[in-house]
Symmetry: C2
Subunit: 346 residues, 2 copies
């Protein structure tokens, strides 16, 4: 069905990794629909080219340059930057129907049946279950709806400062009107929900179709040990909810995404290098005996496989470092990592 598409959004190179895993997982389960990625100017050209290997369409959205009502909305509500970018998905009128999925989701089975649903279908948000979670939703691209959403955003803003608040206020009948627009929770299982009602997860979790890595630590922020096929670090960390889901994300990353990155010369020997480096740092830190595992894990979690980027200003490099995109062979080499580690020591 060429007039229907899954749509996601990546606002930087880290989220591109998420988008690539999401796209690969959709392909792995043989979706018959198109794959579309919206990206912002923060995404590097190299990563954009990798996205084009997985997604049928990669579309640059620059709200600042759009010169239209989205730009005007942004001037009035600068805090809604990413939200307004996400709203652009309603402009994809080459498609009759779409399923939007956040870049921090992945599918565990074919979910093409979602295209039988109507706008706006979404699953409840566990934080406030009369709201839907806007990480997965079915919608119909329409310039008219897009304009209404922009006007609404400009006039009323968003109660949570993001797209979820805006969309819930705009599609406010979701909670009360049409049950067919309530997607089952297994289509947007927040990873943080696993332990909030564990018996329910044990009873129904095996049917999970979409997992959503909510929270500030994303799968790409963890360190993966490809020998043991598991996330490194303290599994008792309450932030590491249900490591099985995290390991599934990394399995897909290693199997389907990493080869693409290597083809584009983004990672090569570096993968091995970083793994060795992480191991070394662990060993050193523990044998010294003067730092706690949690701190090392936190420090090492900043070390992950990332593109080698051209030389750039120290400010920009700091920004990338803080996003977990270090230049491991260059300025962010072992010496510098060690310096950074020192700041974590007791």
């Amino acid at each position: 069905l060429p007039d229907q598409s899954f749509v996601t959004l990546a606002t930087n190179d880290s989220y591109v990794k998420g988008a690539l895993v999401l796209g690969s997982s959709l392909q792995r389960y043989r979706t018959t629909r198109k794959l579309t990625a919206l990206i912002t100017p923060q995404v590097s050209d190299l990563m954009r080219r990798v996205l084009e290997k997985v997604f049928d369409e990669v579309i640059l959205v620059n709200v600042l340059d759009s010169g239209d009502s989205a730009h005007l909305a942004l001037m009035k509500r600068p805090e809604l930057g990413v939200t307004l970018t996400k709203l652009h998905c309603w402009e994809l009128t080459q498609f009759s129907k779409c399923v939007f999925m956040d870049a921090d989701t992945m599918v565990l089975s074919n979910i093409d049946e979602l295209f039988e649903r109507e706008e706006l279908s979404a699953a409840p948000d566990p934080g406030w279950p009369d709201c839907f979670n806007s990480g997965v939703f079915v919608y119909r691209p329409s310039i008219e709806t897009y304009s209404q959403l922009l006007q609404f955003a400009t006039e009323k803003g968003s109660f949570d400062g993001a797209d979820q608040g805006l969309l819930n206020t705009f599609f406010s009948s979701w909670a009360t009107t049409d049950m067919s627009k309530h997607l089952p929770f297994i289509y947007n299982l927040s990873s943080t929900s696993v332990y909030s009602y564990l018996p329910a997860f044990k009873a129904f979790g095996a049917s999970t179709k979409v997992v959503h890595f909510l929270g500030s630590t994303k799968p790409w922020n963890y360190t993966y040990d490809s020998r043991t096929k598991s996330i490194k670090g303290n599994m008792d960390d309450p932030k590491i909810v249900h490591p099985e889901f995290l390991n599934m994300w990394w399995d897909t990353y290693i199997a389907d995404v990493l080869p693409l990155l290597e083809q584009h010369g983004i990672v090569k020997e570096i993968t091995t290098g970083v793994n060795m480096l992480s191991g070394l740092v662990y060993t050193l830190a523990f044998s010294c005996g003067f730092c706690r595992e949690a701190e090392v894990t936190e420090a090492v979690s900043h070390v992950s496989v990332s593109p080698v980027l051209p030389t750039e200003s120290s400010e920009k490099r700091k920004e990338r470092w803080e996003q977990g995109q270090a230049d491991y062979m260059g300025v962010d080499s072992f010496d510098n990592i060690k310096k950074k580690l020192d700041t974590y020591l007791q």
Copy 2:
């Protein structure tokens, strides 16, 4: 409407306090429906008499003595004791329709409109929003349904070992069939949800109609300072979610329930005595400087206003003490409290 009733369940004297606050809050907002309390044999005669002042009907349910299919079910599934007691609410066929409310809920407005809903209407559970929370639900008493529920419980048990798992499996179409059976979340706002999606609480929380004190620490486990009209203890304690709701519970307790307890000679000077005692313990503990506030708060939280009970076996007294029902002027006097406190010290 004499053939419709709110129904609750109290399984010991502590939960009777909750039931009394719930019943008083329903009266305060002028419900036109009857109030019914189911109690188990663990409830003392004195507290039962107080319940009869607030509730139109107080009905003793003894699953062990029932000699019917409930007893048989209990023999096969002893872990479902309280669940099977709760199911007895379907036997109240003197009513055409009922709203069941857990004893750890209270209403913040008139909610008689719930009787316009059909069986089984309930609000989503934030832990797994495709399940309803069984703390508030609309149902139709029916011996046939009761028998089916018992048979179901005996054959399949409950995925969470309690009534919520059982009822969700029995009324399994709730999540997918009829939106009118989805009560808005404000009819069963779990106190733990306030901070899980704070912007939503700020946007919609003012309309809260029923608050549900989920979690192991119940309102009656806290210590209330009637001078400052607030809960004692460290408000940064993550367990003390939204103290405003807790204070509302205590306001109702002090204004409407305590006078009833005093009329029945259950508390008199004791209230003052216990408050003084708590203050003294606090002062002593802190001036000694050898214990942390959290521990004292935890210890003192066991001290609350409770009926003076007749002399009883030390085993039974231990049980009551652990349920927070101490005999303050007698065997559980200051000396004994001090001994207990000692066990909390570092």
